[in-house]
């Protein structure tokens, strides 16, 4: 009798309606995805918006200062590169041409296209950017295909993927948040010019998990036409020497429930691709570290760069230049940020941050110089779509170059779609 009673009491209730849903495999993921962002900024730089000191008559002018110091946006574009008529040799960033005037500008209008066929383990990705700039000759708006690649992961049981096309750098970590909507802060570091450039070629990524110690080891390697220097410092896409440049990063990550530690070493070696002689070499070495603990985040990276001297006929993203000077540099940055826990309302994140960085560089025939920079600011995420950032850049001339007023206040309003 007890069995009968239990059957009556415990029999499944008639509430047997569906409680789960999975879309048919063939229908996902859905075809083409389009995302992107618009980044509008407001900035004001001291002086004339450059780092060229009045009265400094050294030639080339860009060998004796850091022209990247007055960055105003996530691309590293500066307030001005106006050298006052003095000769420069193409060691320059792109310019917003706002000089020392406080100005609103449109930094980037970005469109990302992603296509994932449902039948093959393939991903097609393109990132197109519209860059409105107002140069001396009027409207200098550019459209660049920053990335365009196909990635295939042939083995479902392995974290192994191959990419072909134009893709992000594999050197260091700063390229991971090189876009305005991804960066915690606004401006790139003083060493980003060496490590975050996109290039065209082949890339392989492999990672193996070590669950017993909550860890993973990864290798990211690329063979490309150019290196990882930003596009103003190396010609975009094409190979001038006919030989590829190799770059790689070996990484270790520890993924504990509340603590993340990621460390890596990077290297790059190959011909210097801003000239035509394949025997003229360049190499980079780097190390990086990221630690996240309860909202507190530390990112740090160091790099050492060497470029051989070469013959004339230098050419880079800014066009034909003259001197292929030997160049050595080393630098590092550390960024500390804290993500404040906020409610579910419009305010999604509030992240104050502080960055310190230092860079030492020397061009052949010039004295070495050292600069440093403090960056302090905050990022606010509103809803899922809007990001507001503001920061101050305090540029310092430590040694080897004249003091100049080149501090910057800049801000960024990013709308994601």
């Amino acid at each position: 009798m007890r069995a009968g009673v239990l059957v009556l009491l415990c029999a499944p209730s008639a509430l047997a309606q569906a409680d789960a849903y999975s879309p048919p495999a063939a229908s996902q993921p859905s075809g083409l995805q389009i995302n992107g962002y618009a980044d509008v900024g407001f900035a004001a730089a001291q002086g004339n918006g450059t780092s060229f000191a009045p009265g400094d008559t050294r030639i080339p002018a860009d060998y004796g200062v850091d022209p990247f110091a007055t960055a105003v946006n996530s691309r590293g574009d500066v307030a001005s590169t106006d050298s006052g008529g003095r000769f420069t040799n193409g060691f320059l960033p792109r310019s917003m041409n706002i000089g020392g005037q406080a100005s609103i500008f449109l930094s980037t209008f970005d469109v990302d296209l992603k296509y994932v066929p449902s039948t093959v383990p393939l991903l097609l990705f393109g990132r197109v950017q519209f860059l409105p700039r107002y140069g001396g000759s009027g409207n200098d708006t550019r459209v660049i295909v920053e990335q365009a690649f196909a990635k295939i992961a042939p083995f479902s049981s392995l974290e192994l993927a191959f990419s072909i096309g134009k893709f992000d750098s594999v050197f260091g970590i700063e390229y991971l948040e090189n876009e305005a909507n991804l960066r915690t802060n606004i401006t790139p570091s003083l060493i980003a010019r060496y490590t975050t450039g996109q290039s065209l070629g082949l890339k392989a990524f492999y990672r193996i998990q070590i669950p017993g110690i909550w860890s993973a080891v990864s290798l990211n390697a690329a063979v490309t036409n150019g290196g990882t220097l930003v596009e103003t410092l190396s010609p975009p896409d094409i190979s001038l020497v006919g030989r590829p440049i190799g770059s790689a990063r070996l990484g270790y990550e520890l993924n504990l429930p509340s603590v993340e530690v990621k460390a890596g070493v990077s290297g790059e070696y190959g011909p210097r691709n801003d000239q035509h002689d394949p025997t003229v070499r360049q190499w980079l070495l780097g190390a990086d570290l990221r630690v996240v603990f309860k909202g507190l985040s530390l990112s740090a990276e160091a790099v050492k760069v060497h470029q051989d001297e070469g013959a004339a006929d230098k050419s880079n993203g800014l066009g034909p230049q003259t001197l292929v000077s030997e160049f050595v540099a080393r630098g590092a940055y550390a960024t500390l940020s804290y993500t404040l826990p906020v409610s579910d309302g419009a305010l999604r994140k509030f992240i104050p941050y502080l960055r310190y960085e230092r860079r030492r560089a020397q061009f052949e025939g010039f004295p070495a110089y050292t600069v440093d920079r403090w960056t302090i600011g905050f990022r606010v995420d509103l809803w899922e779509e809007l990001i507001v950032k503001a920061e101050g850049l305090l540029n310092g001339e430590v040694s080897g170059l004249p003091k100049v007023d080149n501090n910057v206040f800049t801000s960024s309003f990013v709308y994601q779609f």
Partner: protein, 305 residues
């Protein structure tokens, strides 16, 4: 009437004492009473009327000569019903119990609520989670469940799962590769850690709300666990159709959550026999192209790491 048959069979069972009509009639009457109270309690339980269920089963427990096995089976359910009904004291003594009333007043018959969800943009209406909460009465707490949720071919299967508050989910990796399921949702922040193929990790969800499921290794993996605090819920199929069974007629607030919508759609509805509901969910939620890792840092899925 299976209970009547049971009672008759029990009454007709061979006994050591000589059978006498009066004794047999008393036995039949008692067994009928047991069956009636047992059934009335169960019906009330199913309807979420735990006070009535408790009253019926408590009355049952007071019947003299109740078989010990019946008492053992019924007592925990009666206690549970009393607890859910919100009256902590559970009468244990048979002396202070009034005689049970066998006659049941006619109760509203629970109905099945059907309907469709439309909208949802390119994802379609499938996976919409429809819940009903009474506005003219009390909404009982649902029974917690234990459900599996698989990581299979770098997807969460099912993609959307609705479970009652307090349920436990067995996250099982059916791939050959490692996964690390986590969520940063306010309804449940958890981290299963790395688990290899075949491994299973169980997580209990005590707070109602939507839990976005992600994998710390595979940025493209996305799933949803919807933890509900009502027994009346359903998940729409690919065409948007849904059915919620055994809903007592009355006034309700219906809520419809969908992964493509920024806000839950809410509406007052009347549940009656043959009720058909229709909802439209907007596709106004932006798909996050950079899902966070378990520390909240955005990731770029196109990089694959």
């Amino acid at each position: 009437m299976p209970w009547l048959m049971v009672a008759v069979l029990l009454a007709a069972a061979p006994e050591k004492k000589p059978a006498r009509d009066r004794t047999m009639l008393q036995l039949i009457e008692r067994q009928n009473q047991i069956a009636s109270l047992l059934t009335a309690g169960r019906l009330a339980w199913d309807n979420g009327d735990f006070a009535t269920a408790a009253a019926r089963w408590e009355a049952l427990l007071k019947i003299e000569g109740l078989p010990a096995d019946v008492e053992r089976a019924v007592r925990p359910f009666a206690q549970e019903a009393r607890t859910r009904a919100g009256t902590p004291e559970f009468p244990g003594s048979k002396q202070d119990i009034p005689p049970p009333e066998v006659a049941e007043p006619p109760k509203p018959v629970p109905v099945n609520v059907s309907g469709t969800v439309s909208g949802g943009g390119s994802a379609g209406p499938g996976g919409a989670v429809i819940t009903l909460r009474r506005t003219d009465g009390w909404t009982p707490k649902p029974q917690p469940l234990q459900k599996p949720l698989l990581e299979k071919e770098k997807r969460f299967v099912p993609h959307v799962l609705a479970v009652p508050q307090g349920s436990s989910i067995d996250f099982k990796n059916e791939d050959d590769i490692f996964h690390n399921v986590f969520s940063l949702s306010p309804a449940a922040k958890f981290d299963t850690g790395l688990h290899k193929g075949g491994a299973q990790t169980t997580v209990k969800f005590d707070k109602a709300g939507v839990v976005e499921l992600l994998c710390n290794i595979h940025a493209s993996m996305l799933g949803y666990l919807v933890v509900v605090d009502t027994p009346w819920y359903a998940v729409a199929d690919g065409s948007g159709a849904f059915q919620i069974r055994n809903v007592p007629p009355g006034e309700y607030e219906a809520s419809v959550w969908h992964e493509s919508s920024n806000a839950t759609v809410k509406r007052k509805v009347t549940v009656a026999d043959g009720a058909q509901l229709a909802f439209t969910v907007p596709a106004d939620k932006r798909t996050n192209p950079f899902p966070p890792d378990k520390y909240g840092k955005p990731r770029q899925p196109q990089l694959g790491y």
